[in-house]
Symmetry: C2
DNA sequence: CATTTCATGTAGCGTATGCTACACTTTCGA
DNA sequence: TCGAAAGTGTAGCATACGCTACATGAAATG
C-alpha cells in the first residue's frame, strides 16, 4: 500500500518532466520534417500560445535539454535528443501495442499521449514480448 | 495529427480532474476500511500536507463531489461515489490487465497509478476482452 | 527602402498544486 | 475539568502552466 501512496505523490510532482518529454519529442519530430523548429511551430503543435512555449523553452534550456537564441530556432542538446528518443520509443511501442490489442486507432493515439509518461521499462518489455508472440 | 495535438492540450488541462478522481477514489477506499475519512487520513495516503488536502477538498466540495463540515469528516456525494466507482473499475481492470501481461506487481501497481486516468473506454474494453480470452 | 506583417519577447493575471508557519478546535488523559 | 496533544484552518509563498495585451525584432513586400 505504501508503494501505491508513493506513486500518488510522484504522479503529482512529475508533470514538469512530462512536459519536458512532450516538448523534446515534439521538437525532434518537427526537426525531422523541416529544417528548423520555431516557437510558432511548437505553439501550433501543442495548441498553446507562443507565450507558454517561450516560458517552457526557457526552463528546458536551463535544464540543458534545448538551446535557443532570442528570436532564433530551437535545437536539442545531446541530452535532449536522448530524452526525445527514449520518449519516442515508449510512444511508438505503446501505440503499436494498443493497436495490436485491438484498440481503434483514434482511441489508441489519444490514450498513448496520456499514458506514455507512466509506462515503466518492465511494462514496456512485457508489451514487446506480447508483440513478438502475437 | 490534429487528434494528437488535441490530446497534448487536453492532457495538460486535465490534471485537476485527475486529482479529483484520485481523491474520491482514496476517500471511498478509506471509508471502506474505517468509519470516517479525515483530512489527516487523506494527507497520509496522498503523501501531501494537510493544507493541500484541505484546499483540494474545498474544490471538490464546490464541484459537488464531497461534503465536509469544518473540523469534520469527509464524505462522498452520490456524484462523488459514482466517480469513485468508475475510477476504481478502471484502476482494478488496468492493474489486472498489466499483471496478466506479465508485469511484476510492483511495477504494475506503480504504472496503474499513472496510467489509469488516461485509458479510454475503448481500451478498457479491449483489455477486458484480452482477460476473458487469455 | 519604407512599411506592413509575422514572429517573438515581456508584463501581468489566473488556477492548481505544493510547502511552512501560525492560529484555532477538538479530543484525550491526568 | 483543564491542559496538552492532535487535528484542522488560514496566511502567505513557490512553481508550473495557461491566457491576453502590448512591445519589439525580423522578414517580406510594394
Amino acid at each position: 500500500m505504501s508503494s501505491l501512496s508513493n506513486q500518488f505523490a510522484k504522479t503529482r510532482t512529475d508533470h514538469a518532466s512530462e512536459t519536458a518529454e512532450d516538448y523534446v519529442e515534439a521538437i525532434e519530430d518537427i526537426l525531422g520534417q523541416q529544417d528548423s523548429c520555431r516557437v510558432k511551430d511548437l505553439a501550433q503543435r501543442m495548441e498553446v500560445s507562443h507565450v507558454t512555449v517561450t516560458r517552457i523553452l526557457q526552463r528546458l534550456a536551463s535544464e540543458g535539454l534545448v538551446t535557443k537564441e532570442p528570436y532564433g530556432p530551437v535545437s536539442l542538446t545531446p541530452t535532449g535528443k536522448q530524452m526525445a528518443q527514449a520518449s519516442r520509443r515508449r510512444h511508438e511501442l505503446l501505440l503499436e501495442f494498443l493497436l495490436a490489442l485491438g484498440v481503434p486507432e483514434t482511441d489508441a493515439i489519444r490514450d498513448t499521449e496520456g499514458m506514455e509518461h507512466h509506462v515503466s521499462e518492465a511494462t514496456l518489455r512485457c508489451m514487446e514480448t506480447f508483440l513478438a508472440n502475437r
